[in-house]
C-alpha cells in the first residue's frame, strides 16, 4: 500500500514536473530568467541584457570538441540579425522580412511558420531587418517593417491581434525585438534617416491597446524642448525652425529592465538630419542618449546624452547592459555601455550619474569630459577625418558582460574614420533625411573611395578602411584587459558563459570560441558567410547547444 502510494505520488510529481517544463512564460519567469539557463527567454538573455549564460557543459577544455548538430536555412537573402528565443525545447525566431518560425531546438525541424504580409509601401533605410521576438504566456510578439506590432499564438502560429504602432509611409518601422515588462509589450520605432519623431511605447499584452508613449524628442512645454533651439535670426545657412518635429531619435534595439528599480532603459538613435547638424541648433535631446523610464507609466526618470548635437550619426542604439559592480571600492548598480561614438561609459543606473568615460577605440570628435560627463567636442576641419567613422567604434550588435570575470566584451571597429560633410536638406515625409555626403578615409589622397557597407565574401575593404576586434574591458574602469584582433570588421554579437567561454562571429564567417579570461582562441569553424546576429546558448535533454546565424543558415553546435 505504502509502495503503491509512493508510486502514485511519484507519477503525480512527474506529471507536475512535466507540466511545469511546458508551462506558460509568466512575468515571474522572465524576471528570473537566469534561474532557468536551459532557456533563452528574452532578446538579450535576461532583463540585465548581459548575454551571459550560467550553462557550463561547454568549457575551455572541451570547446575543441564542438560539432554541428543541425542547420536551418532561410529563403530570403540579406543580413539575418535575429536572436532566437528558446522556451522548453522550442526555438522561436524571425526571418526576413517578417516571418516567425517555431522549430524543435534539438533537431531543427519546423513546427510552423507565420508570414506577415507587409504593406508594399514600407520604408526602411537599411534592409528588411528584424532582430527578434518577445514571449509572454503562450503569445509571441513581433514588430514589423510596416510599423505594426503583432501578437502570435506560440502553439499554432496564428495571429491574435495586430496594432498599428506608427505610420510606415512617414518612414516609421519596428525592427527590434519587443521587451515584455509585467503585462506590457514595449517597442521603439526605427526611421532615423526619414525625419521621424522617435518614441518608445508600451502596449497591453492581452489587447494590444497602447498604454503609454514616451517621445524621444520632447515637444513644446516638455522638459528638454529647449535643446531644439530656434534658428538664429539672419542665419545664412538653412535652418529648420521646426526641427524637433522630425528630429529623429529612433529606437531600434531592445532595451533593458531593472525590476527592483522598475526602470526600463532604452538607447536612442541619431538626430535628424543625420549629418547636417547646423540646421538643428542645440543639444537635440534625447537623441544619442540613454533614457530611463518608469516601466508602468513611461515617465522619464533620467537621461544621459552621449553625443550632444550629433553630426556623425552616432546612434546610441546599443543594448543597455546592467551590471552590479564595484566602482572605486563601492558596490553600485551600474549601466555599462560601449557607445558607437567610441567611448566606454559607466553610469549609475539609479540616477543616471556619469561615473566613467573612456575611449575604447581612436576618438577625435571630442577630447575630455566635464564632471557631469558632457564631452568637449573637437570638430575636425572640413575634409579631415573623424574617428570613429560613420559606423562607429561599435554599433547595434550586442555586447556581453560576465559577472564571472567582471569583464565587458564588445565587438569593435578599429582604425576606422570618415570624412564627414553636411548638406542642407528639407524635410519631406517619407524621403531620405540624411543631409550629408560622407567618405570613408582612405590612406592615399585621391585614391578611389572604398565600397559601402555591404560586401560579399571578399574583404575588399581591407585594413585600409578598418579592422575588427573583440575587446575585453574592465567593466568598472574601461581598461582593456585583452584584445582578439580580426582582419575584417565584425558586426557580431557576443555571448559568454559561466564556464568562461566567449562565442562570437564576424564578417569573415568564422564562428569562434574564445577563452573569456585570456582572449585565446579555443575553437573556430568557417560557416561561410557573415555572422551578424548574437549567438545564444540553451539546453535540451541535458545537452548544451550554441546557435549562431551565418548568411542564410542558422547553425547549432554541441559537443561530440
Amino acid at each position: 500500500m505504502t509502495r503503491r502510494l509512493t508510486a502514485s505520488l511519484a507519477l503525480l510529481l512527474a506529471a507536475v514536473a512535466s507540466y511545469s517544463v511546458h508551462a506558460q512564460v509568466t512575468s515571474d519567469r522572465l524576471v528570473n530568467a537566469a534561474k532557468e539557463p536551459r532557456n533563452w527567454l528574452i532578446y538579450s538573455g535576461g532583463y540585465f541584457s548581459n548575454r551571459h549564460s550560467p550553462l557550463t557543459q561547454i568549457t575551455p577544455g572541451n570547446a575543441k570538441d564542438l560539432e554541428l548538430k543541425w542547420m536551418y536555412q532561410a529563403a530570403v537573402a540579406g543580413a539575418w540579425q535575429t536572436t532566437p528565443l528558446v522556451v522548453d525545447g522550442i526555438m522561436y525566431l524571425t526571418q526576413r522580412p517578417n516571418d516567425v518560425v517555431a522549430l524543435d531546438a534539438k533537431t531543427g525541424r519546423v513546427f510552423w511558420i507565420y508570414r506577415h504580409q507587409l504593406d508594399p509601401t514600407q520604408i526602411v533605410c537599411c534592409g528588411s531587418n528584424n532582430r527578434g521576438l518577445a514571449i509572454l504566456g503562450d503569445t509571441l510578439y513581433m514588430g514589423t517593417l510596416d510599423a505594426n506590432l503583432i501578437a502570435i499564438d506560440a502553439k499554432s502560429g496564428h495571429p491574435i491581434w495586430k496594432t498599428r504602432v506608427a505610420d510606415n509611409k512617414a518612414g516609421y518601422s519596428v525592427t527590434l525585438a519587443p521587451l515584455i515588462v509585467k503585462d506590457k509589450v514595449i517597442v521603439g520605432v526605427g526611421g532615423g534617416e526619414y525625419g521621424i519623431r522617435g518614441f518608445v511605447a508600451a502596449f497591453d499584452a492581452k489587447s494590444g491597446r497602447e498604454v503609454w508613449r514616451f517621445y524621444t524628442i520632447p515637444g513644446p512645454g516638455e522638459a528638454g524642448f529647449d535643446s531644439w533651439q530656434a534658428c538664429p535670426p539672419n542665419e545664412k545657412a538653412f535652418c529648420d525652425s521646426e526641427a524637433w518635429k522630425h528630429g529623429g531619435g529612433s529606437v531600434w534595439v531592445t532595451g533593458s529592465y531593472d525590476p527592483a528599480l522598475n526602470q526600463t532603459y532604452w538607447g536612442v538613435g541619431n538626430a535628424g538630419p543625420d549629418w547636417n547638424a547646423d540646421q538643428r541648433p542645440g543639444d537635440n535631446l534625447y537623441t544619442d542618449s540613454v533614457v530611463a523610464l518608469d516601466a508602468d507609466t513611461g515617465r522619464l526618470k533620467w537621461h544621459y546624452q552621449f553625443t550632444p548635437h550629433d553630426r556623425y550619426d552616432y546612434d546610441s542604439v546599443q543594448v543597455p547592459v546592467l551590471a552590479d559592480i564595484t566602482w572605486r571600492g563601492t558596490p553600485i548598480k551600474a549601466m555599462v555601455w560601449a557607445n558607437r561614438n567610441g567611448n566606454f561609459y559607466v553610469l549609475d543606473r539609479e540616477t543616471g550619474r556619469f561615473l566613467v568615460g573612456k575611449p575604447f577605440v581612436k576618438v577625435n570628435w571630442m577630447d575630455t569630459f566635464d564632471e557631469r560627463g558632457r564631452p568637449h567636442q573637437t570638430i575636425q576641419p572640413a575634409g579631415q577625418p573623424t574617428w570613429p567613422g560613420n559606423q562607429g567604434g561599435t554599433n547595434w550588435y550586442s555586447p556581453s558582460f560576465s559577472p564571472h570575470t567582471g569583464l565587458f566584451y564588445v565587438s569593435a571597429w578599429e582604425n576606422y574614420a570618415t570624412i564627414f560633410g553636411g548638406t542642407p536638406v528639407e524635410y519631406q515625409e517619407g524621403r531620405n533625411f540624411g543631409g550629408g555626403q560622407n567618405r570613408p578615409l582612405v590612406p592615399v589622397p585621391g585614391a578611389p573611395s572604398l565600397p559601402g557597407l555591404r560586401r560579399g565574401p571578399i574583404n575588399n575593404w581591407t585594413e585600409a578602411a578598418a579592422t575588427g576586434a573583440v575587446l575585453a574591458l574592465d567593466a568598472s574602469t574601461g581598461e582593456q584587459k585583452w584584445r582578439y584582433p580580426m582582419t575584417d570588421v565584425t558586426d557580431s554579437g557576443i555571448l559568454t558563459t559561466a564556464a568562461d567561454v566567449l562565442f562570437t562571429g564576424g564578417r569573415e564567417g568564422y564562428f569562434h570560441a574564445i577563452d573569456a579570461r585570456s582572449g585565446t582562441l579555443l575553437w573556430k569553424t568557417n560557416l561561410g558567410a557573415q555572422i551578424v546576429n548574437g549567438p545564444i546558448t540553451y539546453e535540451v535533454d541535458g545537452k548544451q547547444y550554441v546557435a549562431a546565424i551565418s548568411g542564410l543558415s542558422l547553425c547549432v553546435f554541441g559537443l561530440r
Binding site: 528588411s128 524621403r431 590612406p443 555591404r454
Partner: protein, 262 residues
Amino acid sequence: MRTSTFLSCAVVGFVLGTAIAAAAQTPAAAPPGDYSPADIAYGARIYDAQCTTCHGANGDGVGGVNLRSGTFRNAITDLDLQRVILFGIQGTGMQAFKFDPSELAGVIAYLRNMNSVDRGSAKVGDAARGQTLFEGKGGCTKCHRVGAVGSRVAPDLSDIGALRSAGSLLRSITDPTSQMMPINRPVRAVLRDGKVVNGRRLNEDTYTVQLIDDQERLLSLDKSELREFKISTTSPMPSFKGTFSADELGDVVAYLLSLKGR
C-alpha cells in the same frame, strides 16, 4: 618579383562634373537614350542626396550591385528603372522613392551616365590607337589581361571601362599607387621551408590570405604557417607619365573606357 605594368582594378572615386562622350560604348542591353547634360547634372545632385546612403557615392555600396556598370539586375529599360525607383524592390533594402517626373528623369540620366562623368576633365582620344599602344608600346598585356589576351598577374581589365571613370583611369596610368584598390595590394610571404611567394592579394581574413602569384597560380596560405608575411601599399606598376605623350594617354584611356566586359 615582377615589377612591370600593374594597373589596379579600382572602383572610381566621386563622379560629378564634365561628361565624357562614352555613351556610344554603352552595352546594347542598356539603351543609352538621349540624356541632356542638365538632366545628368540634376540627377547627380538628387543621387547624392537620396541614394548614397545605401548605394554609396560610387554606386557600389550594395553588395552585388554596381550602378556604374550600365547593367541592372532588375531593369533593362528606362521604364524598368522608373518602376524600381518608384516602387522599390520588396524584401530588399531598395525602398520606394517619391520622385517627381523631372527628378526621375534626372536620376535615370545620371544612372545611365555614372561611368562617363568625372570631376576631372580627362582627355579621351581614339580607342583603336589606344589598343595599339596598350598592346605594343605600353607592354600592358605582360601583366594585364583583356578578354583572352594577356597575363593574369595584374587585375583583368576586360570590364574596366564599366568600373572606372576616365579621370581615374588616367591617374591609374600616371600614378598607379594612388589608384590601387587595397584588396589588390602586393603580397610577399616566406613559407616554412624558406620558399618565397610573391603575388597579388585576392582576399584575406584573420587566419588566411588568398592570392594569385607571379606564376599565375591561385594560392591560399595559412598565416600561422608563414615565416614572413607582408602586404605592400606600393603598386608594382610603373608610371607611364614619361612613356606616353598626352595624346597617347588619351588614346589609352579611350581604349580602357571601351572595355565594358561581356
